[in-house]
């Protein structure tokens, strides 16, 4: 199906019943979307995605892969050349969808001269929230995103990037959205803020909110996302389900550290690895890295290493599944 540019950007106001994105409801559907810009550059090519209601979905890919353009199409800010996008079963520029949507853009700006509290109050009013609840809801949101109370009444022009990002997140949460679109949410946030954001996302997810994150921070995506789509040259190359075990999950890297000095020669290590079905990988400075088939393989390897005389102090699965997935797909760094 093809949708040329709509005659009106805003579809008529809502039907009486409000769509409620429970896990059974439609979520976000992208069907065969193509998008080119005027210069003829094709940005999205036949993109198909179904983001289920209530899931946290990540989008990764190299710069210029079309991630932000896809966001624009899903938010009704850009028109696909062909294909359809629906949010909660409605067109993305439907007013009812906008009542359900929160958006944190990558390049965030607010009206100059407003304080954080005023900014949020303005967006609270635009989101058609009750005036009576405004002061309480604004303060609750500012607290929720962890913005220091001392800066609530400070001009946002004096805010650091991290503070702006927190305020932007609070702005995206105004109106209790059911669909949250976050474009690089951890950009400029300090480590404490990242932890806070992660906890916040977990809380939001527990309330059944569908969260769609576009980020280059693979480690963070891995920690919060249920599924991640890998984008390249405007196409969805692969989708990784982080919630279910897969071949890539069972085959993992085991990092082994030892006490004292490492007494085994490279030949001995190679023999132990071969005998237990593991593969010795590029060693780190103070650790050995083995690729093992599964948890049983890891257990066999550790037993053999101890038997060979290596004083094993710790062994842990190496994190970075998404990073490996990205490298397999794109063979490049984000």
């Amino acid at each position: 199906m093809s949708i040329p540019r709509p005659l009106r950007a805003d579809t008529p106001a809502a039907p009486p019943e409000q769509p409620s994105p429970t896990p059974d409801s439609p979520g976000v559907r992208v069907e065969g979307v193509n998008k080119s810009y005027r210069r003829g550059q094709r940005v999205l090519s036949d993109v198909h995605l179904h983001i289920r209601a209530g899931e946290t979905f990540g989008i990764i890919g190299p710069n210029g892969a079309g991630k932000t353009t896809l966001f624009g199409c899903m938010l009704g800010l850009l028109w696909p050349d062909s294909g359809t996008v629906s949010v909660a079963g409605l067109p993305p520029d439907h007013l009812e969808v906008r009542r359900l949507t929160g958006y944190l853009p990558e390049r965030l700006t607010f009206d100059a001269g407003l304080t954080a509290r005023q900014c949020l109050a303005f967006h609270h009013a635009l989101a058609e929230r009750p005036v009576r609840e405004r002061p309480q809801e604004v303060e609750a949101l500012l607290t929720q995103v962890g913005l220091d109370k001392a800066v609530w009444d400070r001009d946002t022009r004096k805010f650091s990037r991290g503070m702006m990002q927190r305020l932007g997140l609070a702005q995206a949460l105004v109106g209790q959205p059911r669909f949250l679109f976050l474009d690089e949410p951890t950009l400029g946030i300090d480590p404490e803020g990242v932890l806070h954001l992660r906890a916040l996302l977990r809380d939001i997810k527990s309330r059944g909110v569908t969260v769609i994150i576009n980020s280059h921070d693979l480690a963070q995506l891995e920690k919060v996302c249920d599924r991640v789509a890998f984008f390249r040259a405007g196409r969805v190359e692969a989708i990784e389900d982080l919630g279910s075990p897969s071949a890539t999950l069972t085959r993992h890297v085991l990092v082994v550290r030892w006490a004292g000095t490492q007494s085994l020669s490279p030949e001995q290590l190679a023999t132990v690895s071969r005998e237990t079905g593991a593969t010795l990988m590029e060693p780190a400075e103070d650790a050995l890295r083995f690729s093992v088939e599964d948890d049983w393989g890891a257990s066999r390897l550790l037993g053999a290493l101890l038997q060979a005389g290596l004083p094993v102090a710790s062994a842990a699965r190496e994190e970075g599944r998404l990073e490996r997935f990205f490298q397999q797909q794109g063979d490049r760094t984000p």
Partner: protein
Amino acid sequence: MMSMPLYRSRVTRSFHRFSTLVPPLAFVMVSLAWSVAMLLYTNFLLTPEMELPKEIFLIPLGVGLSSIGRDATEGLLPVLLTRPLRRSTYVLSQWAAMGTVASFWALLHLVLQWGLIVAATPHGPMPLEVLYNAIGRVSLCLGMAATLVCFSTRLPGWGHLALWGVLFFIAERVLPGLGKDESARFALTVRQYLLGVLMPELDIRRTFAATPVSWLRLTTYFSNVTLMLLLGIHIFNHREVSYASR
């Protein structure tokens, strides 16, 4: 039709921003200072006159420094347009805010001028004349706001002011010269229409003092303003606003 939070924020912003506060304020102050200076220089012989509404066209231009194009350039649009807000509502709110602020400055200028004339002469202008002048000013401010908002729905930054300036130059300097030629008389008609779009003004006295009432003036004004607003809404409805599309 109009979003009150957006309207209020745009009105407030006009008074808080240096770029939209200083030009109209400077116009009012300089104009008043000039009148006072003339009074003092001529020893109260040359009394100031109330300026005609169309002579205050610089005020809407100054207030128009902040418009949709500025919002787009500053990256405010993507977040604003993901709110439950029709694009037509956004355009109309911008227009109403710009028209209100420009009208405020134009009326402040009129009040100060009136006060000066009353203070300097035994017989000030008749209240009805002042009312006609005030309505003329407000109509010019709202009309010019419609044109400037229409231009700014597509042009970035201060592009709408540049386009207005170019068209005004053509209307004032190029077309009259062309119209002198017998074979290009249409240039004068084009000029008249172009000025009607660039500076729509409702001359109340000439509209209602005429017998019968000059409905043509009335409908021309309202049709020009409506046309510019509809055109602006149409253009803005088709505009892609993500920063990825720049």
